[in-house]
Every structure is written in structure tokens, then in C-alpha cells.
Symmetry: C2
């Protein structure tokens, strides 16, 4: 097929959005940024480390590759506008797989109103995706890791533990229950809650990609505070209890250390009236680190090098 | 060292520029875009396909990884402002190598006034770099591939053929002459000529990454024109003749098909007074494709999948 043939395949279904001033096919793309500030994040996903082709469809992998970057944009209080894809692949990749990947990326873009504006195709022994997402703050201040203050409440939007449970199920060779396996394959970050949290006055925010304790640890470190979580405020869903019982795993471990659901977690001034979709799970105090019911959580989030 | 240790190493030397509103360490970075439009491009570089650690130092590889993306930004008539790095590496990579890579990236950023605003570190069996560059049009219209018109002149800024000659030399096991080997290891794109060409009224522009004939072929296709090059307008430097004679290669092949020097080539209205730094090498006509002295060039640019 050749590089240029594959590029044509990859860019075939291009659909721009209002902000797409120049899409794929030129030296670079151009995106409208009426706010005067652009939010940018990038991720590398490597086959058999970040995804497995026997565990997830190409469509799932496309969805997830976009989702993890868009969740980072949402965690700043911004709205995703554009995605760039670096696609390295063995020359014998199946065309159907490429089409599925691109469809998944495009569909996830459609969820948030973003467009795939450009990319790069090259050869490699394993499939590697370099995904960059851009976002628009729409006049809001970015919500960083640094603003949590003692007295703030800590609240969560979205699911935690489901993707980790799905990963555990797949790792044992099972393919069900579908709810947890789907959560691993195709997370559904609560994108709209990012800008909403910013409008509510969130003092800090992040997405849960490494696990609740680990990611709140980044906020605690960056803000110079302690974050106290209360396990009883986190209802363990019946499905996770059920899967935990079947696999002989305490589901609290998935909830506190599981990444890849891309929930949003944020701190808010104490008197903030939080809307539906946000659940208070703890509070910010003087000190350092994260405590669950007053104790240090035994394990941190995952590190790829561990 | 672990992922977070490596991230600290990678972000240790962070230096922002005026447009860097939020640098590395958060969910995403924020860059000022006073123009209201951002230019974006991305590239994946895979060890032993795009670079070899035994042919180039880590510093060279960092320089080149940034340069190829900044050249794409310049080819739009824009000024690079920011770079994001996805860095996938085996866990046993030497710290000195990582430091050298980052120094090279930072130094090339310094050449153009950009900053490394963020990135991602992960594990892989081969070193893979996902580089994204952002740029600022500073009020100018982007110069695309589509605007070349019959009657325009075609002009070149920067070197062509030198990196290809260096690649040929290295491929034969030599390490000199230094001029061509350095051109391969550390190209020096004429960044400032991109915005300058835009101000001069360039009708189309691209950077020479795949070879002069191949890249002008993209302009010819996108603009729906023929591009006629004249070999006599392209002076073959004595050094390339010398290396060509030593390796028994016609240096014209390097000049017309060699990529990786990241020269800029553009079309301009016929009466444009081109400043020093730009050399007319041909003209735009009705028709399609690229001709060298009236004939189809035998070989196209390189394709990674060939």
C-alpha cells in the first residue's frame, strides 16, 4: 500500500469542525483559538503496553486513545477542539484494523466536537499511537493541580474502578461481565464536567488516569496540601463487589488505585453547591499526601516502568 | 528510576518563553495564541528507522526531532512557539542519553524561540519520539500547498542534498566529510525564511522532507499545476560533487530526491523581488506533476514503507 496510500486511508474520512481552519494534508494544520490561549496535551500508546489487539477492537482502541487525551483537556476546564495522530505500524497491518481505529478516533472526536486535524504515518515493528489533543478554554482560567486549599472539598465526577476491574477480568482470560470489560475497552470520561467544574470555581482538578490515590497525590504535591478521602463516601457498586468476589480481589483496591476510567476529580471551596454528577469524597487539609480514612493507602498508582 | 523519575529528568531543564502560560507538570499545557489561530503538526520518530544511536548523538537526535517539526511550522509561514514530546523508551536507556536528547530539543527550541511545554513518558522496546509543534501565524495567512498558479516562480531557501549525501556516507561506514555527515545528523532549516516568504506573498510553500521532486509534487497535486524545475538553476556544491565522485553517485540524485535537509521551497508571483537566501529554481505552468528540464524525474522521494 505504501506510506502515501496509508495516509490517504487514514485521512479519508476527515470531517472538520467550526474551529478547523485547515485540516489534514498540508505541512501543518490550523485551528481557530478565539480565546487567545490553546490547551495542549500529548500521549504515546504502545501496543501490548497500553492496548492489546486481542483484548480490544481497533474501534475501541481509537476511542480510548482519543478519550485519554480529551480527558486531560477537560481536566483543565477546557473543551477539546482538535486531535493530531502519529501512527506507526507494521506494513502488514490490516486495512480493516486501520479503518476501525480511525472510526473510533473520529467517533470520540464527535462526542466532544473535535476534529482530527492532522498526523503522520510511519513504519514500526509494533503499533504506536502518538496522540495530541488541543482544547479551548472559552474564556475560563485553566484549572491546574496547584490550587487546592485547606478547607476545600474534594469531589468526583465519573466512574472509578470499573476499567481496573475489566482489566483484571481480561487478565484472567474472561470476557465478561460486559460492564467492566467495556469500561476497560472504551472509557467514557465525563468531559462536560470539566468546563462545568471550572465554572463552579474548582480550585484544582485532574483526570483519574493512574488511580484516585495517585492522581490526588499529584494535586496534594502540587498544591502543598493533604487530601483526606473517606472510603464510606465512595459507594462500591454492586457489580464491582460481584466481580471482586469472583476474582477474590477487594474492589476497594480497584476504586482507589485503578486508572483508565478517566473520571474527573477536583477540589472546590467548601460552600460550593455541587450539581448532580459530582460526589464529595473527601476534603483538603494542611499537610501532605493522600490519606484514606486517616491512613496512607498501601499502594500507589501504576507506573509503566514498575 | 521509574516513570515519574524519568519524567522529572525530562522536565528538569524546563524553560518557558513568553507564550508559555502553563508548562509541563499539569494535565495539559497552555500556550498564548494572540493571533487567534494556532498551527499544529506532529511526527513520530522510531529508532533505527528515523535515527540510529550509533550514527547520531542523543543531542543530534533531539535537534533533528525538533527541527523537522519546526520546519513544518515555518513552511506554513508561522513561527514555532511550543513543542510537546512523547518519549517511549526501554527502561535501561542511559540517563546521559536522555539528558542529551532533552538538551538537543531545548537547544533547537532556543533557535526559534519555542519552549517544551509538555509531554508523556512511557516504556517501549525501541525508542520512539512523538513530537508535536505549535506555531503562531502572527496575523499572516497560512501558506498552504494549494496556491501555486501558472506563471509563478519556484524558489528555494536552504540546502538540499547534503543530508542525503551524509546518509550515503554513513551507510558506507564512513564518518566524514563532516559537512555532509553533520547535515544528516543536525539539519539547519532556514526557519526565518518561512514567515519572510509569507510576507513576500508566497502562493504555496512546503519544507523539503521527502525530496525536492516529491515535495514539489505535493504542491503540484494540491494546486493542480505543473512545476518545471531547471537543473542548471540548482548549483551542485563542490562538496557534493566530491562526495558523489567518491561514492560513485550522481550528486543530482541527492539534490532532487534527498530529504531531511528541511529546506523551504515556495512559489511566488512572477514579479516578486526575492531577497538573498532565496534562489529561483523553476516555474509553475499549466498541467500536472513535476518535470526536471522537461522530463519526469525517474524516482520519487522516499517512502518509509518501500
Amino acid at each position: 500500500m505504501g506510506e502515501f496510500g496509508l495516509i490517504k486511508r487514514v485521512t479519508a474520512g476527515f470531517v472538520g469542525v467550526a474551529s478547523t481552519l485547515l485540516g489534514p494534508g498540508d505541512d501543518a494544520a490550523v485551528v481557530a483559538v478565539p480565546d487567545g490561549r490553546v490547551v495542549a496535551t500529548t500521549d504515546l500508546l504502545v501496543e501490548n503496553r497500553h492496548f492489546r489487539r486481542d483484548w480490544s477492537t481497533a474501534n475501541d482502541i481509537g476511542h480510548k486513545a482519543a478519550a485519554r487525551n480529551f480527558a486531560d483537556i477537560a481536566a483543565m476546564g477546557a473543551v477539546p477542539t482538535a486531535l493530531l495522530l502519529g501512527f506507526a505500524t507494521p506494513g502488514d497491518v490490516e486495512l480493516d484494523w486501520v479503518d476501525g481505529l480511525m472510526a473510533g478516533l473520529r467517533e470520540e472526536c464527535g462526542e466532544v466536537g473535535a476534529a482530527i486535524i492532522g498526523g503522520d504515518v510511519t513504519a514500526a515493528d509494533v503499533i504506536t499511537l502518538g496522540v495530541t489533543a488541543l482544547g479551548d478554554l472559552q474564556g475560563r482560567d485553566p484549572i491546574t493541580l496547584t490550587g487546592a486549599r485547606p478547607g476545600d472539598v474534594v469531589a468526583l465526577a465519573g466512574k472509578v474502578g470499573w476499567a481496573a476491574a475489566g482489566f483484571a477480568v481480561l487478565g484472567r482470560g474472561f470476557r465478561s461481565p460486559v460492564q467492566v470489560v467495556s469500561a476497560h475497552r472504551r472509557p467514557e470520561p465525563p468531559y462536560a464536567e470539566g468546563p462545568r467544574a471550572a465554572e463552579l470555581g474548582a480550585t484544582s482538578m485532574t483526570d483519574v488516569s493512574d488511580g484516585l490515590v495517585a492522581d490526588l497525590g499529584h494535586i496534594a504535591d502540587a498544591s502543598g496540601v493533604r487530601i483526606n478521602l473517606s472510603a464510606e463516601l465512595l459507594t462500591i457498586p454492586a457489580k464491582l463487589r460481584e466481580v471482586g468476589a469472583a476474582l477474590n480481589v477487594d474492589p476497594l483496591v480497584w476504586v482507589f488505585t485503578g486508572g483508565d476510567d478517566y473520571a474527573l476529580v477536583a477540589s472546590f471551596p467548601k460552600k460550593t453547591v455541587l450539581p448532580e454528577g459530582w460526589t464529595v469524597i473527601g476534603a483538603v487539609a494542611e499537610g501532605e499526601g493522600v490519606r484514606v480514612d486517616g491512613r496512607r493507602w498501601p499502594a500507589g498508582g501504576h507506573e509503566h516502568f514498575r
